[in-house]
C-alpha cells in the first residue's frame, strides 16, 4: 500500500512532457540506425564506408561492381546477420527485463528469475552432448527453457500459494536443480570437443548466427513485442499492487499470465539465438528509468531501443577488439555491472 502511494507521487516529480519524450525516442532510433551503419564498417576485414553504401545501393539500382566479391560476402553473411541479431536479442532481453520488473514490482528482477536461462543452458548442453546440429541445439534450448518456466509456475499451483514470493522461491529451486544437471552434463561431455562448445554457448556469442536462425525466431519476437507494447499500460496497474489493481478492474491472473508468457517467449528466443547473456535485462530498464521515469508506457519502448543499442555495441566490441572473439556474457558483465553501479549511485537507490 505504501509503495503504491509513493509510486504515484514519484511519477509526478519525474514526468517528462510528451514532446520531450517523443524527441528522445526519435533521437534514439536515429542513433540506433547510425550505430548499425558504423557497425557495418567495423571489423577485422577492412571495408571502406563508400563501398558499403555502394553495395547497398547496388541492391536497389544498378551500380558498377568495383569491389571484391568477398566484401559483399562479409557484409551480408557475416556482419549484417550479426547486427540484426544483436539488435533483436538486445531489445528482446531488455523488454523482457522491464516487463518482469513491472510484473514482480521489484527492480532487482531479471529475466532469469523463473529459471529460463538455466533451463535453456541444460537444453543446449544436452543437445551438444548428444551430437545434434545447430538447429537441434536451438530447439532443445528453447524447449527446455519453456519447460523450466512451466515447472516454476506449476510449483505455486501444487503448493496452493499464488503469491509472488512463492513464484520467486520456486524459480530459485528449479534454477538450482537445472544448474546441478548442467554440472552432470558438463562432466559427461567430451573434454576435447564438446566441453568447450557447451561453455562457449553458456557465455553467449553471435559469431555463429546464420540468417536462417534469425528467421525462425523473428516472428515470435515481433509478436511478443507487439502484444507487450499493446498492454503496457496494464503493467503500470499491476505494479500498483494486487488489491489496487483488482479494484481498478484489471484481470490480474490473465494480465500476469500474458506478460509472463510473452517475456518468457522473448527471453527464450534471445537465448536460443546466441546462448545465455546476463545483465542486459537487469541494467537496461534502470537506464531507461533514469531517462524517462518509471511509467511503463514510456519505459517499454525506450528499453527496447536502448537494449538493442547496448547489445549492438557489445557485439561489435566482441568481434573487433581482438582476433579471438570474446563471449558476450563476459563483456556484458564487465561493462554492465560497473554501469549498474554508476546508475544506482546516480539514482541514489531510488528504486521506484
Amino acid at each position: 500500500m505504501n509503495s503504491s502511494n509513493r509510486n504515484l507521487e514519484n511519477i509526478e516529480h519525474e514526468v517528462l512532457s510528451i514532446t520531450k519524450y517523443r524527441i528522445i525516442i526519435i533521437v534514439m532510433i536515429f542513433t540506433a540506425i547510425l550505430m548499425s551503419v558504423i557497425a557495418l564498417c567495423l571489423g577485422r576485414y577492412k571495408i571502406d564506408i563508400l563501398d558499403i553504401l555502394k553495395v547497398f545501393m547496388s541492391k536497389i539500382t544498378a551500380v558498377e561492381h568495383r569491389w571484391d566479391p568477398m566484401t559483399e560476402n562479409v557484409i551480408f553473411s557475416l556482419r549484417l546477420p550479426r547486427i540484426i541479431a544483436s539488435l533483436l536479442v538486445g531489445s528482446a532481453l531488455a523488454l523482457s527485463g522491464v516487463t518482469y520488473q513491472g510484473v514482480f514490482k521489484n527492480p532487482l528482477v531479471s529475466p532469469d528469475l523463473l529459471g529460463i536461462s538455466s533451463g535453456a543452458c541444460v537444453g543446449a548442453a544436452l543437445a551438444i552432448l548428444l551430437g545434434f546440429g545447430s538447429i537441434g541445439i536451438q530447439i532443445s534450448a528453447f524447449t527446455l527453457g519453456i519447460v523450466t518456466v512451466i515447472l516454476t509456475t506449476t510449483i505455486p499451483k501444487i503448493l496452493k500459494n499464488d503469491s509472488i514470493t512463492m513464484l520467486v522461491l520456486s524459480g530459485i529451486i528449479i534454477s538450482g536443480v537445472m544448474n546441478s544437471i548442467m554440472g552432470i552434463v558438463k562432466y559427461l561431455a567430451d573434454p576435447e570437443t564438446q566441453l568447450s562448445a557447451i561453455t562457449y554457448w553458456q557465455m553467449g556469442s553471435l559469431a555463429k548466427v546464420v540468417p536462417q536462425d534469425v528467421l525462425f525466431t523473428v516472428p515470435l519476437i515481433l509478436i511478443s513485442t507487439l502484444i507487450l507494447m499493446l498492454i503496457r499500460w496494464k503493467i503500470n496497474i499491476l505494479s500498483l499492487g494486487d488489491s489496487e489493481a483488482k479494484s481498478l478492474g484489471l484481470n490480474i491472473k490473465l494480465t500476469r499470465g500474458i506478460t509472463i508468457i510473452c517475456s518468457t517467449m522473448l527471453t527464450a528466443c534471445a537465448v536460443c539465438i546466441c546462448g545465455t547473456i546476463g545483465w542486459v535485462g537487469l541494467v537496461i530498464p534502470h537506464l531507461g528509468r533514469m531517462i524517462v521515469g518509471p511509467d511503463n508506457v514510456r519505459l517499454l519502448p525506450i528499453s527496447c531501443v536502448l537494449g538493442g543499442m547496448f547489445m549492438l555495441f557489445i557485439d561489435t566490441l566482441a568481434r573487433v577488439i581482438t582476433n579471438v572473439e570474446i563471449p558476450l556474457s563476459i563483456l556484458t558483465g564487465l561493462i554492465g555491472a560497473p554501469f549498474y553501479f554508476y546508475i544506482l549511485s546516480k539514482q541514489r537507490m531510488k528504486l521506484s
Binding site: T19, R22, I23, I26, I29, F30, I33, V37, G43, R44, Y45, K46, V55, F56, M57, K59, I60, H65, P69, M70, E72, N73, V74, I75, F76, S77, L78, L80, P81, I84, G131, G133, S134, D190, P191, E192, T193, Q194, S196, A197, Y200, S205, A207, K208, V210, P211, R319, N323, V324, E325
Partner: protein, 374 residues
C-alpha cells in the same frame, strides 16, 4: 510541424535502409553466385570436384595456393602430400607449436610465418580474419555445421574429414586429401607404405596370440590425467601389437582417468605425449605435482617413454607418420617378436622418400627423443 517533418524523414530513411538490408539478405546469395561464376570462369576455367567425408561434392580450384587448415595434424598430412608448405597460409597455434618442436622447423622454413591468430584454442574461428586471408579452400573436421555454413557463405569451399579411429579412417583422410590437392600419386605412395606396415604387423599375429598382453597407458596430457580412450586409434594399435589399454567408457578420443584407476590398472608401459613437456625422469623421480607414481609397474621397471615426434607429434590418431609410431611401439612391447624392426631406418627412409631429405643422426635422435633416455 517541425517534429512531424522530422518523424516523416526518419520513417522514410528507416524504410529505405531496411528495404535494402532485407533485399540484401535474400538476394545476396543469387547475386553472389552470378558474380562468383563470372569471376571464376574468367580466372580459372578448370575446377576439380571431389567428394569428402560428408558425401558432399565440393568444387575446388585446379591449384590450391592458399589453404587454411584447422585440425592440427592435417597440416603435416598436407605438407607430406605437397612436399612443401608454400601453399599453406593459415594453421592453428597448436599446429604451429608442433611445428616448432619438430624437425619440420628445419625442413620447412616457409611455414614459420603462417598466420595462426584466426582461430582460438577451442577451435572457434574468427570469420572476418579468415575473410582477410582469402583462402582458396579450408580444411576442417566434420561436426561443425555452423562453421562450415559461414565458410560457404564467404565463398570458401570446405573439405571435411572424420577424425580417424582406425587405420581405415586414416587412409580415407589421406585419400581425400590427395584428391583435394591433385596429388594422387603421392597419396598412393603414402598409402602403399601404410599397407606395407599393416601387412608386416599382420604377419606377426600368430606369434602374438599367446604372449602376455602388456598394459599400455597412452597419455594425452599429463597434468590433468587425460588419456587416449579405449575407443581411440591408439587403443586399436595397442591391441594390434599384443598389448592392452586402460578401460574407459566414453566414445570420445580422450578421457579423464583418476589416479586410483591407474593404480588399479598398474600399467607396464607408459607413453608420454608431445602435448606437454613431461619427460620419463619426472615419473622416475616422482616429480609430478599431486600424483604418486612410485609404485606403478612401468615406473619400477623403467618403462616410461616419450612418443617420437617426426614432422609432427606421432600420438594423435591423425598423424601422418602413424606407421613409424606403430613400429616404434611394437619394438617396445615385444622386441623379440618384432626384432627385425629398424626404427631409425624407417624414419630416414620416410624423410628421404617423401621429401628428398637426408636425415642426420642428430635429426633422428631428436625424433626419438634420445637425450631423454639413459
Amino acid at each position: 510541424m517541425k517534429k512531424k517533418k522530422l518523424k516523416l524523414i526518419a520513417t522514410v530513411v528507416t524504410v529505405v535502409l531496411s528495404a535494402s538490408m532485407i533485399g540484401g539478405c535474400t538476394n545476396s546469395n543469387s547475386k553472389l553466385n552470378d558474380e562468383k561464376t563470372k569471376e571464376t570462369s574468367a580466372a580459372t576455367n578448370v575446377k576439380r570436384t571431389i567428394v569428402d567425408s560428408t558425401g558432399e561434392k565440393i568444387e575446388l580450384p585446379e591449384k590450391l595456393e592458399k589453404m587454411a587448415i584447422l585440425p592440427w595434424p592435417w597440416v603435416s598430412i598436407i605438407y607430406t602430400l605437397e612436399g612443401s608448405g608454400n601453399n599453406i597460409i593459415a594453421m592453428p597455434k597448436g599446429a604451429k607449436d608442433g611445428y616448432d618442436m619438430s624437425i619440420l622447423k628445419n625442413m620447412a622454413p616457409e611455414l614459420a610465418d603462417v598466420s595462426t591468430d584466426f582461430v582460438d584454442n577451442d577451435g572457434n574461428v574468427n570469420m572476418e580474419t579468415m575473410a582477410n586471408l582469402k583462402p582458396d579452400a579450408a580444411f576442417c573436421f566434420t561436426g561443425k555445421e555452423a562453421q562450415t555454413e559461414k565458410f560457404k557463405s564467404l565463398g570458401i569451399p570446405v573439405v571435411q574429414v572424420k577424425s580417424a579411429k582406425d587405420m581405415k579412417g586414416l587412409k580415407d583422410i589421406i585419400k581425400i586429401t590427395g584428391e583435394a590437392l591433385g596429388k594422387e600419386d603421392r597419396s598412393k605412395k603414402l598409402l602403399e607404405w601404410y599397407d606395407k606396415t599393416e601387412k608386416y604387423i599382420e604377419s606377426k599375429q600368430s606369434k602374438l596370440e599367446n604372449v602376455e598382453k602388456y598394459k599400455v597407458l597412452n597419455f594425452y596430457t599429463t597434468n590433468d590425467m587425460k588419456m587416449y580412450s579405449k575407443s581411440s586409434f591408439n587403443a586399436t594399435i595397442n591391441d594390434m601389437l599384443g598389448g592392452q589399454s586402460i578401460n574407459t567408457t566414453t566414445n570420445a578420443g580422450t578421457a579423464n582417468v583418476s589416479m586410483e584407476e591407474v593404480l588399479n590398472y598398474n600399467p607396464d608401459i607408459i607413453l608420454i605425449s608431445n602435448f606437454d613437456d613431461v619427460v620419463p625422469d619426472d615419473f622416475y623421480n616422482n616429480k609430478l605435482p599431486g600424483q604418486d607414481w612410485s609404485k606403478v609397474s612401468a615406473v619400477v621397471n623403467h618403462k616410461v617413454y616419450k612418443v617420437p615426434c617426426g614432422i609432427y607429434r606421432m600420438e594423435p590418431p591423425n598423424s601422418v607418420e602413424k606407421p613409424i609410431y606403430m613400429l616404434w611401439l611394437a619394438s617396445i612391447l615385444h622386441p623379440d617378436i618384432f626384432s627385425d624392426v629398424n626404427i631409425e631406418k624407417e624414419i630416414s627412409n620416410f624423410l628421404k622418400e617423401f621429401f628428398d631429405y637426408n636425415a642426420t643422426q642428430d635429426d633422428i635422435d631428436k625424433v626419438l627423443h634420445k637425450k631423454l633416455y639413459h
